[in-house]
């Protein structure tokens, strides 16, 4: 196996986000604030055949373990995702995402008149609904494209 193949298939330390619905990998990167400008090593597999999802995406981020807030938001667009923590090439922790009741400080409310979009000392907060999220301050509901509001 060549070095190039190893680079894609294995990471030394970091996080593998598996079982992301096909086509959603770039949104996961957006949630993580990864656009390549910081020089992170990131591997993305898109529309990989999957028994469970039909097609799935995989995101591997070298040298970074995710915060709970990031995992919470990933769960909104990838409810079946698993988060694998890798250290020295070994998976040391594997967790399924759990949809939280509430996410704070990650999403921005799309209502320009919401108090959280001004200069007040308050973090955004969203209650998680069965389908979408709802601003805890102004009640605005986001049903689709949740990652667009990060």
């Amino acid at each position: 196996m060549s070095d190039d193949t190893l680079r894609v298939s294995k990471i030394r330390d970091g996080t593998v986000i598996d079982h992301v619905p096909g086509g959603q990998a770039l949104k996961v990167l957006a949630i993580l604030g990864i656009d390549g400008s910081a020089g992170e090593t990131v591997s993305v597999g898109m529309n990989v055949p999957s028994d469970k999802l039909g097609r799935k995406d995989i995101v591997k981020v070298e040298g970074r373990e995710l915060s709970q807030a990031e995992v919470d938001v990933i769960s909104l667009i990838a409810p079946a995702a698993s988060i694998n923590i890798v250290r020295d090439y070994e998976v040391v922790e594997k967790n399924r995402v759990v949809r939280p009741d509430r996410v704070e400080g990650v999403l921005a409310c799309p209502n320009p008149n919401c108090i959280t979009t001004g200069d007040e000392p308050v973090a955004s907060a969203f209650e998680v609904l069965d389908a979408g999220v709802r601003c805890a301050y102004c009640d605005t509901i986001i049903r689709r494209d949740i990652a667009d509001h990060i």
Partner: protein, 301 residues
């Protein structure tokens, strides 16, 4: 009521509502003495009825009010945040009444203070104390059970509508919403009504439902919400009522409006027995007396 703050009508149970309305019916005759209480009136938007009726209610209870005055002459003009303003004002008063142009303002402000805070309107969000006086007026004139109510006008941005619709889910009420397509109820309100199992129908034409109504609650279609003046003119005329419009309605129809009106209710309705909007505005004082009594020193606090 055992709420620290009144932010949204969604907080109010049927018991909460009935306790305030029952108290409102008697409080003017024998008001409790809250002679040492101070109520702060923080109005970041213009207000006549809400501000004056809270002011009058506190004074009828023997208390006093402090008022930040117009925004232009307050520290807000210097760039102070709302969070800072309410943190300062809670040191001056036993309760705060807040009106603000941003949705969620009252909810956020309540997180920074320990004194009770009452939302007197947050943008297009909620206006729960208005809802209590609306319900008081409905109960006095039509009863709150087996009620068919039409709510017409600007349902998208109308905060009184959002609060009233939510509160009515506590009662056996059939709610008919009449508006232009562009001013339908917001998704969040429709979601809550659906979750509450409310009986709801939406219409663009009042005639579809007028003859069934016990109550017609009219709101102003707000010209400033329309980007195009012609679009406003096209819809505004369709949602104006006069005696002719009401010919198809029941004789005992109750016509309400949270006021101010512009021309959505013709003056020829004013002198009919159906017109209850001035009575509705007057009810703001006893209902807010009962609310303040419950929140700043009622028996159950």
């Amino acid at each position: 009521m055992r709420h620290d703050h009144l932010i949204s009508a969604k907080q109010l149970s049927r018991d909460d509502i009935e306790a305030v309305l029952d108290r409102a019916a008697t409080i003017a005759d024998d008001p409790p003495d809250h002679g040492d209480a101070i109520l702060a009136l923080l109005f970041f938007e213009p207000s006549t009825r809400t501000k004056m009726s809270f002011d009058a209610a506190m004074k009828r209870l023997g208390g006093t009010t402090v008022d930040m005055g117009p925004v232009e002459t307050s520290s807000v003009k210097k760039g102070e945040t709302l969070a800072d303003t309410v943190r300062v004002v809670e040191g001056y008063a036993d309760a705060i009444v807040l009106r603000h142009p941003s949705e969620g303002a009252a909810k956020m402000a309540s997180e920074f203070v320990d004194v009770p805070l009452i939302n007197a309107g947050d943008g297009a969000g909620q206006h729960p104390s208005q809802t209590l006086l609306d319900l008081y007026t409905i109960r006095e004139n039509a009863g709150l059970d087996d009620l068919t109510i039409g709510i017409m006008g600007d349902l998208k941005y109308g905060r009184t509508v959002h609060s009233l619709a939510s509160a009515l889910t506590n009662f056996d009420a059939r709610q008919h919403f009449v508006s232009p397509e562009s001013l339908r109820l917001p998704r969040s309100v429709r979601y809550d009504l659906h979750e509450a199992g409310a009986q709801v129908r939406e219409h663009t034409d009042l005639e579809e439902v007028l003859s069934e109504l016990d109550v017609l609650y009219v709101t102003r279609i707000q010209r400033e919400r329309f980007p195009d003046e012609n679009e406003y003119r096209a819809v505004a005329g369709q949602y104006r009522i006069d005696e002719g419009t009401l010919a198809a309605a029941r004789e005992d129809l109750v016509v309400m409006h949270p006021l101010p009106r512009v021309d959505e209710i013709s003056a020829d309705v004013d002198d009919t027995t159906r017109a209850k909007y001035f009575e509705q505005a007057h009810n703001g004082v006893p209902v807010r007396m009962a609310l303040l009594d419950a929140m700043i020193g009622g028996e159950d606090r």
